[in-house]
């Protein structure tokens, strides 16, 4: 049985349909990368999965149980943890307090403070610093650690690379690889193609709120992905001269 099962998901903002009938399925321990240009619906998809924006129709099943209409604060207790776009760590709390917020839902599992500090030693060094003074990369590490402390069934990562320098992004994705290697099921939304492909088992590409590509990551060539990303179809054009 898949850990996460999504069917016919439709998410709207007023009149705008941002996610239009998307389906996906995540098996235990798998990492799925969801790709797409801005406005393709990736972040909205994550918002619907995390419960911060409820869908108009469709289903989200976690370990077979429907969670579609659960509000965000109840979803994390069930085991869906989101690392949100833009980090959104708590500026006035210290790093350690930020991490401890991950313990709020009181879910047991392999991740505790020690494990997170082992994974991110630089974070451990800054544990008493206020969240608001950290750099973007440091905040991202804290945000990931915070979500890990909730010992989620599914870890959702939204645009980890956003606004960060390539070296920082590489370090973060090193950590993500180590996290998924330990068996964590993850869904990664990313605009950085290389990093996404390096960490994923499977890839799903969205365009205009719909899935336009689904494939295993191994052996996937960049051009295929790029075409799907931009919605380029390379089928031959009909000859207008033919009567």
């Amino acid at each position: 049985m898949s850990v996460l099962e999504v069917a016919g998901l439709e998410v709207r903002y007023g009149d705008l349909t941002a996610v239009d009938g998307v389906a996906l399925s995540l098996a235990e321990g798998e990492t799925l990368a969801v790709l797409g240009a801005n406005g393709a619906g990736k972040s909205t998809l994550l918002a619907a999965l995390a419960g911060t924006h409820l869908p108009a129709s469709g289903q989200v099943l976690l370990d077979g149980e429907p969670v579609t209409r659960l509000p965000a604060h109840r979803r994390v207790r069930r085991g869906i943890a989101l690392v949100p776009e833009g980090r959104r760590i708590f500026g006035s709390l210290s790093v350690e307090e930020n991490l401890l917020m991950g313990r709020f839902p009181k879910r047991d599992g392999p991740w505790d403070l020690r494990a997170v500090y082992d994974m991110f030693p630089l974070v451990a060094e800054m544990k008493d610093r206020r969240g608001g003074v950290l750099s973007g990369g440091q905040q991202q590490a804290v945000a990931i650690g915070r979500a890990l402390l909730a010992n989620p069934r599914v870890l959702l990562l939204d645009e980890v690379s956003l606004g960060l320098a390539p070296t920082v992004v590489a370090q973060l994705y090193d950590a993500v690889r180590r996290i998924t290697a330990e068996g964590t099921t993850a869904l990664v939304v990313e605009q950085d193609l290389d990093q996404a492909l390096s960490v994923a088992d499977r890839v799903q590409c969205l365009l205009g709120g719909r899935t336009v590509l689904e494939a295993p990551a191994a052996g996937l060539d960049r051009d295929t992905v790029a075409d799907a990303y931009f919605g380029i179809t390379r089928s031959p054009r009909p000859d207008p001269t033919e009567a």
Binding site: T52, H73, R88, F90, G91, S92, L93, E97, M101, R103
Partner: protein, 307 residues
């Protein structure tokens, strides 16, 4: 000597103001709401205690009853009135940390919490007036209010001393709660970013209501002390609100200890002002407040409030 007396009285009075301001500061810190009914609610607590004492309850028991009742009232008001009002601020999407102003051009929108609290203030003040009339009352304390402790040549009131001690204790306890407990941490998280806190399992609506419950508990305690030391009437709620607010601003937003300092400054301004002209104590306090606003708008102990 009179000046020294005024000084001591002022410092002690500051304790009362700081205790009053505690709840106002807490609610603003957590959810950026200014509760304009704050003052009249303190007066309500005083009236409630008065009624209980008149029915024969010992004063300490009345306090023990009134404080939890007010905590429950605070929880209910937040969930019933202020949460729905907050939902109108920036639409229903309070899950973003940016203060996205999606003000509906033709609705009360982001003014809603303020307007709701003002409506409550007006309704409650006049309700109290109908029930209790505009006569001034005082909670009988069996001599506590007039007892004094000799300090050199001065006589320092026992009640004001107790009030100051209680104020310090309450502020310390609230700070401890916020800094050391999981719930306090969750409250600070919600204050920073309600949506992100929700992602961590904190129910913002519930947490706001817990904050308000805590604030109302301190408010009730403060109200009882006011009732014991002052002749109060329903209209006194207005002054209580202004004093609490002035203590917060003089002390600096975002710092409870600053509020204590602000309360003391306000108390001193009032008592020294009254030494100069018995009618002008309150005015002196207002003028000092305005002066602080001009000269040092961040207050005495400003803390950079995270946006």
């Amino acid at each position: 000597m009179d000046w020294l007396n005024a000084g001591v009285q002022g410092v002690l009075l500051g304790g009362q103001y700081a205790l009053l301001a505690c709840g106002l500061s807490l609610i603003f810190g957590v959810m950026r709401i200014v509760n304009l009914a704050h003052g009249v609610l303190a007066v309500l607590a005083a009236y409630l205690s008065l009624v209980l004492v008149q029915r024969g309850l010992p004063l300490w028991l009345a306090v023990v009853v009134v404080v939890p009742v007010f905590a429950a009232l605070g929880y209910a008001m937040q969930r019933g009135l202020f949460n729905p009002a907050l939902a109108q601020v920036g639409g229903s999407d309070r899950s973003t940390s940016r203060s996205a102003s999606r003000s509906a051009s033709r609705s009360a929108g982001e003014l809603a919490p303020l307007l709701v609290s003002f409506g409550v203030a007006v309704a409650l003040t006049n309700l109290l007036q109908e029930v209790f009339s505009a006569d001034t009352r005082k909670i009988p304390t069996g001599g506590l209010a007039s007892a004094g402790v000799p300090l050199g040549e001065l006589s320092v009131g026992v009640l004001p001393l107790i009030t100051l001690a209680v104020a310090v204790a309450v502020i310390a306890l609230v700070q401890l709660f916020l800094a050391r407990t999981a719930t306090g941490r969750a409250m600070r998280a919600v204050a920073d970013d309600a949506g992100a806190a929700a992602m961590m399992g904190v129910d913002p609506k519930h947490m706001y209501a817990v904050a308000t419950a805590l604030a109302f508990a301190t408010l009730a305690l403060a109200g009882v002390f006011v009732g014991m030391s002052t002749q109060f009437s329903p209209g006194y709620g207005e002054l209580v609100l202004l004093f609490a607010f002035e203590a917060v601003i003089i002390g600096g937003l975002g710092s409870l200890w600053g509020t204590l300092a602000g309360g003391v400054v306000l108390g001193l301004a009032q008592t020294i002002g009254a030494q100069i002209d018995p009618q002008s104590g309150v005015l002196a306090g207002h003028l000092v407040f305005l002066a602080v606003l001009v000269v040092r708008p961040g207050g005495l102990m400003p803390r950079s409030v995270p946006a």
